[in-house]
Every structure is written in structure tokens, then in C-alpha cells.
């Protein structure tokens, strides 16, 4: 967050409604929180807003303050008794959504800047449901939703999920979020890290706001300087400096330990115990696999150069924290280093501390971010939106492991991590920001505002198009002024559930009223849910004609005329009827239809509808794809 907000133009001087913001409560369902972090200090905060009905039940040695106004923990697997974050994840997400502004935050000097959440003046209520050994139990997640909704939070952020979509009546996050939505609370969820596999998005319910992860213009790399003066760019998050010293280079196979049952291949790969520590000390060891740094460290090497089997671009996506001066390089660079080493009698190298460089291709959706299409409701485009989720610096728990190498005992207050977990709270922060300007807006109106004002993303850099980034990249400054919103309320979602086969009896139980499902011809397809994006699946090799029905609400200027503009892909006709919408008052609603027709052709067509009044631009993606 020392760069991600600025990257979006959402800098420290943006206009804010500070008083309203301090009444916003963000519920964070995660691995707990580190209450002593500077990101959660309550300096300058008054008492909790009067609407707060929650409690501070964080357990042993856990104290709330006027920033963290609530804390609860749930653990059906054991008697663990604290909301204190042991994994760092919950503190990271909470501070990204609503952490204070903290100057000079960094990870050992890396990514230094002012760490801050989307709404620094907002309050946080932490609900711990995840534990290092047992994960996050469904029963506990549902309990957290039950409490958070009743406690009076305004938004829920949940960077938790499974590896695949689950039917709504068995998906605890969909269930909890549905009841949250019914009470006016928007739930924002991480889309998942199972990309780039098609249909890997696990957050699929239309009342959820599902977030993909993308890059920012900051990229952390490290340089390796060889004895011949040549510089090779490597990937890792390396906080160590060799202070200008060039050290001897040695390949793993040259320092095979004879005391253990190890092969030359094991030594090449730097397997722990297979390196002779006497021959390694004070040297940089070259290893034929990425995890070789573990063996290198155990043998006492001064540093390590590691071969990654990923391309340079992909390696960057998973740049890992190393516990010694180490850097990963892809095969081209690796071979260059080996070639240099073999060409000289006394090969030397220096691994520099990581540094931030400009990433000019951003924003690009990360490879790991889960992809659509939606496997449960193909007519609802998921993920919904994309936000920064790569190498994000935010608060961390000082007792949490900082790397996958468990012997790395370093402790940090701020850490750089990646995932859709990190992108999710960025959207929560923006949703909270929008709510400060429009406190009475429904969850779907806030979601629509964020989706229809998103930056367009470049499909040539994002192979899966809308299935990777949804409506595009969040644009916080525009989201407060969308002009029109696509609003969807509880009865609309219920109608959609009916079309998916929900019985009247189950419907009445879920809705809590006497609703009945529409019969026969009144039944509505999920494609007609008043969603801010349009998606449909059609049969392969057959001509198609699809009509989407939508209604927009005027939240811009009382007297305004919006004109439709549609990009027309080849061999497809897209018509909007009416193509002009005239509004006379605020909150006035106007309906229209979009008809997409075409012959068999490309398996994926992507277009967009933009309503424009000259001041606002309200963009919705239109995606039609073949069923496989």
C-alpha cells in the first residue's frame, strides 16, 4: 500500500469525508489482527460510532482501542483463545482496507513509503476464523458472519476461499454474504489464486464482490553483478546486502558432501545435507532449483543463485522472500552465469539487495488470479473486478513467519505479500470510500459504481480478457461519481435463485418472508439479473440471439441525457433499445435491452456498452462465450 493507492491516483490528498469515514466499520474475517501495529493505533480516534453493537472479545492479552473497536475469534477445532494474528495475513488485509497512514513503512527498507488503507479514518472489527494448522473452518466462518452482521459493520472483507465454486446453499461465504446483503452490508471476497485455469474462480455468487489480482507499476527485482562486470537481473525479495563484496562462485555439484548419502544431482540441486559446509563458507553457491536456498543456508553459504523453471515474468509473480542473499534466475540468465563461471579461474559475483523498479506494463492480471467463466451461474461474469494484489506492503504480525523457510526467524511489522487476498481489501477500501460519499447506497449500487467506472484493461496483455479482470481495474476517484447505477436488491437475487431451481419452501426460509417463485413464463433467466456486467453462454457452432434486460438508476445530475455507445465486434450485432435515456430527476429509473446476435464464429466475444452524458461514462462489459 506504499504504492498501490498512488498507482491508481488515489493519493494522500484526495477529497475525503473524514467525519463520515470515522463512522464506517469494516468487518475483517481473517486470521485475526495484531492490535499493537501502528496501522491500528487509535491516536486521534474518538469512541466507536453509536451504531456499533459489537464487542471486544479478542481473548487473552487482546485489547481493543478506538481503531480496532471489535474482535472475536472462533475455533471449532481446538480451544485456541485469541483473535491475535499469528499468520500476518489478517493484519495485512485489515491495514490495506482501513489501516492508518504510517510513514516510512518498509520491509527492511524495501518498498518504503507511507503505508495506508483505503479509508484510514474508518474503524475495524476483526473476526478470527483461520489458524495456521487447521485453516479456516466453514462453521467458524459462518459464525463470524452471524456476529459481524449483528454487530453493525458496514462492509465485510473476506480474503478466504476454496479451490472451486460450491453450490450457494452449501457455500458459507455465499450464505453469510447473502444475509449481509439483506442488511445493507456489502461483502468483498478474494476471487482465488487458482489461475490461470479456466473456471477456477471460486467466488461466484452475484451478491458477492469478487476480486482478481493485478500488478502495479512497482516491481521488486535484484541484480547479480558478475566478476566480469556484467549485470544479471534476478527475482526474489532479498533484504540482504553484501556491501559491495564480490564473493567466489561455486556450483552445487563441486561441493558435494561426502559424509551423507548424496548424489551429484542432489548437490547440484543443493538439497539440505548434501553440501560440504567447509567448501561453501563465504561463497555464493549456484543451485539447479529454486528451493536450493534452504540447503545453501544450512551449509553456511554466503549467498545463492537459484534456477527457476518459470519464465522471468512468471517468476516475478511468485517472487519469494529469501533468508540469505539469494536470487532466482530463469534458464537463459542461469546459463549465462554458468558460462561466465566456467570461463574464468576465479569466478566472482555479488548479489545486490532487492530494489523497486518501474513496471511499465501494469496493470496486468497476475497468472495466479482465478479465472472465469462462472461455473455455477454462467450468466454472471466473475471475477467482478481487478485490483492491486502483487507485492503489496502492509502491516504484518511480528510473530508470523516471514517466509516459507520456517527457520527464518526474522520478525517484521510490515511485509510484502501477493495474492487475491491482497487485492480484495483494496476493493473493500474503495467500497468504504464510496460509502462515505453515499451512506444510503445499497451494496449493489456501491458495487455497480466501482464496476462501471473501472479502468479498461488491455486484453492483449491479459489473455483471458474479462474472465481475468471482470469489468476492469478499480478506479477509486471515479467510483464516487458513477452517474448511473445498476441496482439489485434481495427480491431480485431471490428471483434469480428461483430460476436455478429453488423451491418455494426453501425460498421462504431463506428470504424470511412469504415470497413465492415466479411461475411459468414469468420466470427470469439469471442473465436478466440487473448486474453491471453482461454475460451469456451459447451453444457452439450455432447462430445466437441473446437479449439482456437492464435498469439503471440516475445518481448523477437530475436533468441528464445518456447515449449508448457499443463497440461492435466483427460478425456480431449488438443493439441497445432505447439508445438514449433521458432523466428528469435523481433516483429515476430507466430500463433498456441489449440484443446480441451473431453466427457461429469465435468462441469468445467481448464488447462493452458505455452510457455517456458527456460527464459520466458508465461502462459494462458484454461477454458471450461458447459452452465447451
Amino acid at each position: 500500500t506504499t504504492r498501490s493507492w498512488d498507482f491508481m491516483g488515489f493519493n494522500e490528498s484526495v477529497s475525503r469525508k473524514r467525519k463520515t469515514e470515522s463512522n464506517i466499520i469494516v468487518g475483517v474475517i481473517d486470521s485475526g489482527i495484531w492490535p499493537e501495529s501502528d496501522s491500528f493505533s487509535d491516536e486521534g480516534f474518538g469512541p466507536p460510532p453509536s451504531k456499533w453493537k459489537g464487542a471486544c472479545r479478542g481473548g487473552k492479552n487482546f485489547t481493543c482501542n478506538n481503531k480496532i473497536i471489535g474482535a472475536r475469534y472462533y475455533n471449532s477445532a481446538s480451544s485456541e483463545i485469541s483473535a491475535r494474528d499469528e499468520q500476518g495475513h489478517g493484519s495485512h488485509t485489515a491495514s490495506t482496507a482501513a489501516g492508518n497512514q504510517v510513514k516510512d513503512a518498509s520491509f527492511y527498507g524495501l518498498a518504503k513509503g507511507t503505508a495506508r488503507g483505503g479509508v484510514p479514518s474508518a474503524r475495524i472489527a476483526a473476526y478470527r476464523v483461520c489458524y495456521p494448522d487447521t485453516g479456516c473452518a466453514d462453521a467458524d466462518i459462518l459464525a463470524a458472519f452471524d456476529d459481524a452482521i449483528a454487530d453493525g459493520v458496514d462492509l465485510i472483507t473476506i480474503s478466504i476461499g476454496g479451490s472451486n465454486a460450491i453450490e450457494f446453499n452449501e457455500d458459507v461465504i455465499a450464505i453469510g454474504a447473502f444475509h449481509a446483503m439483506a442488511k445493507g452490508i456489502l461483502t468483498v471476497q478474494a476471487a482465488g489464486n487458482d489461475g490461470p485455469k479456466s473456471s477456477s474462480v471460486s467466488s461466484v455468487a452475484p451478491w458477492l464482490f469478487s476480486v482478481a489480482a493485478s500488478s502495479t507499476d512497482r516491481m521488486i527485482v535484484d541484480n547479480i553483478i558478475l566478476g566480469n562486470g556484467k549485470t544479471v537481473q534476478g527475482i526474489s525479495i532479498n533484504s540482504f546486502s553484501l556491501d559491495g563484496q564480490k564473493l567466489p562462485l561455486v556450483h552445487g555439484k563441486e561441493v558435494l558432501s561426502l559424509t551423507d548419502d548424496c548424489s551429484t544431482t542432489s548437490a547440484e540441486n543443493c538439497f539440505p545435507g548434501c553440501l560440504d559446509s567447509r567448501k561453501v563458507k563465504g561463497k555464493i553457491i549456484i543451485c539447479d532449483r529454486e528451493m536450493g536456498y534452504v540447503g545453501a543456508l544450512r551449509a553456511g553459504a554466503a549467498g545463492s543463485i537459484l534456477l527457476t523453471d518459470l519464465s522471468k515474468e512468471d517468476a516475478f509473480l511468485v517472487a519469494f522472500i529469501v533468508p540469505l542473499p539469494a536470487s532466482a534466475v530463469s534458464s537463459k540468465e542461469y546459463n549465462a552465469i554458468l558460462s561466465y563461471k566456467n570461463s574464468t579461474k576465479n569466478p566472482l559475483a555479488e548479489i545486490l539487495k532487492s530494489e523497486a523498479i518501474k513496471n511499465t506494463t501494469a496493470p496486468v492480471v497476475t497468472k495466479f488470479s482465478s479465472r472465469g467463466p462462472n461455473s455455477l451461474v454462467p450468466e454472471i461474469l466473475k471475477p467482478d473486478i481487478s485490483a492491486p494484489g502483487l507485492q503489496i506492503l502492509a502491516a504484518y504480525s511480528p510473530i508470523a513467519p516471514i517466509s516459507e523457510y520456517l527457520d527464518d526467524k526474522r520478525s517484521v511489522k510490515y511485509h510484502i505479500i501477493s495474492g487475491t487476498s491482497m487485492s480484495c481489501p483494496h476493493v473493500t477500501g474503495v467500497a468504504a470510500y464510496v460509502k462515505t460519499f453515499h451512506p444510503d447506497w445499497s451494496p449493489s449500487a456501491i458495487k455497480s459504481a466501482i464496476m462501471t467506472t473501472a479502468w479498461t484493461m488491455d486484453p492483449s496483455k491479459n489473455g483471458d480478457g474479462e474472465f481475468a479482470y471482470g469489468s476492469g481495474h478499480i478506479n477509486p476517484l471515479e467510483a464516487i461519481n458513477p452517474g448511473l447505477v445498476y441496482e439489485t436488491l434481495k427480491p431480485d437475487y431471490i428471483k434469480m435463485l428461483c430460476s436455478k431451481g429453488l423451491s418455494d419452501k426453501a425460498l421462504r426460509r431463506i428470504s424470511g418472508d412469504n415470497s413465492t417463485c415466479p411461475k411459468g413464463s414469468e420466470k427470469e433467466s439469471p442473465k436478466d439479473l440487473n448486474y453491471p456486467s453482461m454475460s451469456a453462454q451459447v451453444k457452439q457452432d450455432k447462430p445466437f440471439k441473446i437479449t439482456f434486460n437492464r435498469t439503471v438508476t440516475n445518481v448523477g445530475l437530475p436533468n441528464s441525457v445518456y447515449k449508448a455507445n457499443v463497440s461492435q465486434p466483427q460478425n456480431v450485432s449488438i443493439k441497445v433499445e432505447p439508445a438514449v435515456l433521458s432523466f428528469k430527476s435523481l433516483n429515476e429509473k430507466k430500463s433498456f435491452t441489449i440484443t446480441v446476435s451473431g453466427s457461429a464464429g469465435k468462441p469468445f466475444l467481448s464488447s462493452s456498452l458505455v452510457w455517456s452524458d458527456g460527464k459520466h461514462s458508465v461502462r459494462s462489459p458484454i461477454v458471450v462465450y461458447y459452452s465447451s
Partner: protein, 86 residues
């Protein structure tokens, strides 16, 4: 007991809280008592959801799960799985 080892944590989802309702927690106990019979409810009911929606988490055998699924008010019953941080 053998029955205890066959029990797995399940979520019994019952939808919205009905307005002006009785105590949902006692309804959960009654429902469980009905399927468990004379056995003790101790360690069976893990948690009741009563503040924002209706449901409970309980350790059930397959047989008990089947009996509960046909009871009035139950929307769905499913094993409590494990999700992960993303």
C-alpha cells in the same frame, strides 16, 4: 463411543430468522434431541447461529444427518469443510 467417532461436523442452514420468533437456539436443541434420541447432546451441538440468520453446527452421524434433512425448516445440511487464506 463408536457413535462419537462416526460423527462429523455439519452445518445445518435454516435461512432467515423469522420475525418475532421463539428462541432459535432452543429450536436447534429440540431438533437435535429428536434425531439423537436418548443420547446426550453434550459435544454434539457445536454452535448455534441466531443473531443474523438461523442455523447451527453439530457433530452428526450420516443417519442423524438424513433425519435432520427431512425436518421442517432445514434449507441445507452439509459437512463443515475447510477454506484457506488467499
Amino acid at each position: 463411543t463408536d457413535a462419537d467417532t462416526d460423527r462429523n461436523l455439519h452445518i445445518v442452514y435454516m435461512g432467515s430468522l423469522q420475525e418475532g420468533q421463539y428462541s432459535p437456539a432452543s429450536q436447534h436443541l429440540t431438533m437435535l434431541q429428536e434425531v439423537i434420541g436418548s443420547s446426550s447432546l453434550e459435544n454434539v451441538l457445536v454452535r448455534s447461529y441466531t443473531r443474523s440468520f438461523n442455523g447451527f453446527a453439530a457433530k452428526l452421524t450420516d443417519n442423524e444427518r438424513q433425519k435432520l434433512s427431512s425436518m421442517d425448516g432445514v434449507v441445507s445440511i452439509f459437512p463443515s469443510g475447510t477454506l484457506h487464506l488467499q
